[in-house]
Symmetry: C2
Subunit: 490 residues, 2 copies
Amino acid sequence: MADDKKLTTRAGDFSAWYNELVLRAELADYSPVKGSMVIRPNGYGIWERMQRALDDMFKATGHRNAYFPLLIPESFLKKEAQHVEGFAPECAVVTHGGGKKLEEPLVIRPTSETIIYHMFAKWVQSYRDLPLLINQWANVVRWEMRTRLFLRTLEFLWQEGHTAHATHDEAEEETRRMLGVYRTFMEEFMAMPVITGQKSESEKFAGALRTYSCEAMMQDNKALQAGTSHNLGQNFSKAFELKFQTEAGDIEFAWNTSWGVSTRMIGGLVMTHGDDNGLVTPPRLAPIEVVIIPIWKTDDEKAKLTEAANAHRDELTSWMGRGAHDRLRVHVDARDGMRAGAKYYEWELQGVPLRLELGPKDLEKQSVFSARRDTRAKAPIAMAGVAESVAKVLETIQSDMFAAAKARREAHSVRDIASYDAFKQLMDGDGGFVYAGWCGDGACETKVKEETKATIRCIPDEEFRSAQAPTACLACGGPAKHEAVWAKAY
Amino acid sequence: MADDKKLTTRAGDFSAWYNELVLRAELADYSPVKGSMVIRPNGYGIWERMQRALDDMFKATGHRNAYFPLLIPESFLKKEAQHVEGFAPECAVVTHGGGKKLEEPLVIRPTSETIIYHMFAKWVQSYRDLPLLINQWANVVRWEMRTRLFLRTLEFLWQEGHTAHATHDEAEEETRRMLGVYRTFMEEFMAMPVITGQKSESEKFAGALRTYSCEAMMQDNKALQAGTSHNLGQNFSKAFELKFQTEAGDIEFAWNTSWGVSTRMIGGLVMTHGDDNGLVTPPRLAPIEVVIIPIWKTDDEKAKLTEAANAHRDELTSWMGRGAHDRLRVHVDARDGMRAGAKYYEWELQGVPLRLELGPKDLEKQSVFSARRDTRAKAPIAMAGVAESVAKVLETIQSDMFAAAKARREAHSVRDIASYDAFKQLMDGDGGFVYAGWCGDGACETKVKEETKATIRCIPDEEFRSAQAPTACLACGGPAKHEAVWAKAY
């Protein structure tokens, strides 16, 4: 149960605010295994809604779910040279099983390319078997030393899509399609605007040809990489002999893609929308969208108002205006022995988008008093047609939250940085996203990172680029090959 | 893709039939990690439907989902003496992480009582925090040497419910409630009749006070333990200091329950309903309930019939008679260059409950020709009101499958076994469930197991017991304390 102490403010200490919020809103808890977290029901409820929405989108784009083993032979990891270099240092290794030392150690999957493409090679013979479009919901383990609840943990939950195609272009199309699915999900469900673009060589996935990502800005103006989509080329198909016979009868290696998002998104949601009173959940992902709080003084009032609150809930949940599939998610908090104010505090901390207060006077006036979580705006809502009114408010909250996050991002995006010195100053101070030129040389990337902790988040897709393309590299002043988004990141 | 060879028959070699069916219906595949399996989309699709149905039932009974760490400190397992004895020999042990040897080895959860009750101890202070009703969907690892696809694998997927209560009786009530939920699911969704009852001391969960189970009969007359529910008493709360303050102000240990079902149920579904042509899926769990196959000879017919098949599908899937939430799941197989017969063969192998054939003559007659998967009965269905007709047939299939499985079980249940010799003969031959007396002595259980491989599946609940309670122990002839169900089991 949350206590009544105020949260540390975002302005005071963003990082402390984040941890306190996650713990006190009971989204997650620390576990006795260093670096591993427990996702509590309040956090898992958000994850379930994220999963449902994404899974529907994956299926609508032709993917099917499957499940592959947790434990992978160590030798598999070594088959793709870049891949093992990237992941071997992060692996948890099983050396004993059933009381015996294993002949070959097994690693707990840090990601499943190796085992999945091994299986694909068994299943794919002909161009008729392509494209093969598979997704897996799973846990993975990456040995992290500096962990943060949701953002970076030893174990996390995610989905990883894995596909095989007959041509490079088809694989590239799939890579971009799934990046688009992620963007749609993040913007329309999480109300979190993202910039899509390509990762630099140094930031791409270990074993990929090209990596694309969705980058969001948190309220401390740092970037969060919220999802990635990789064109793996033929790197894994060559390592795992994933070949097929073409229509013309030739034997060729398949082209692969992989793409993933994880429970990290819950951290992104908190840092995009949370305020000094706690979590603010976008309605579409809120396990509870509306909490109704009956307010009483006498026992007589209590019975009457609880009954009215329940009737209210039933009216809201039986409303079909959003489709029978998508009923309003409503909870009545009629707990005894607790002040209404303490209830408000608790539901605000937990981020429920809309609160309805129902007192004797509201009943008389045939209305309820509503309080939006995002803006804290308060207004009466007439009982006649209440479900439709509530659904409209929830829609407004969803779009207002997106607009506010986007405005915040734009307010902290700089497209005309005067000099590298000005950039350093900005990164020392407020931070934000800086759109600036890059010569394409990894040395400049490294220099900026070492001097400012900022990295190239991506080479943004066309729609995000500046009207006037930058001409000089932020770091060396040489001719710019790309426009890049530079920022400090989680 | 399945080839056209006939399956081994059940009568010929039940075990070979099972493996071939699972592989050729593409439910699962062997993996390169000995004992681990890959669940392919056809199998995972059934698991997803199982999950959805169970999850709804768990939520309706007040449970919330959460997620706990995969890796558990070895020392945790040792805190409950019976528990470590039961599970330590089956553990996979992580000794290295991030390139370093760990100070304390971590085991991959074989089940999560220890870590979960450790966390519960942090969260529960007062009787007001009880009951705490949590469920987790997760993977677990138990080092098995003799594995069988779905039935016994090194890693499997399951759910594990974990609850804490203020009193023994409340915990017992919960244990029985969840056993009831499992039974309802198995009978109403899987169309698999089960016997519920209590496990003997030797077969109960390591660390439980009492274990209850659902026992089903497979077509080879062996039993499959399909789900278990445990009253854990205060064993774990004492080991993990899970205490609470009572309303009266005393400090007491909480009472726990845990209960689980797994992907093993998919094996149970195959062995309950499959036939010599392949899988037979109960409609409520079938990812595809209806496959429509247009039949053509000329290109002109092809266009016309494919269009008609698609229109048909749209009519079926847009029908709301089962509720908008539960549309008919329909697939059109209009693949070119494949004979209709080969398509029938493939969908039969995969167990789709109802096939609709649509040829030029059917179109003329404004009807479709239907073939039930379970009985292979064929009949025309008029196009007028086709959705309602199809839904009715599916309901009939669901209930007929349950009735057939139940009749099969009853036909192989013996309540009047003449002697222990007759029992031995039966177990050497056809097998089946034998209801017979047991003196309550573990020595008799062991003797029967050693001599016949049969075990006590459960002390059946009252409704399953014989009208005339047996008076003598099957093994020693001494006075019977219980009626027990004896059978060979998976």
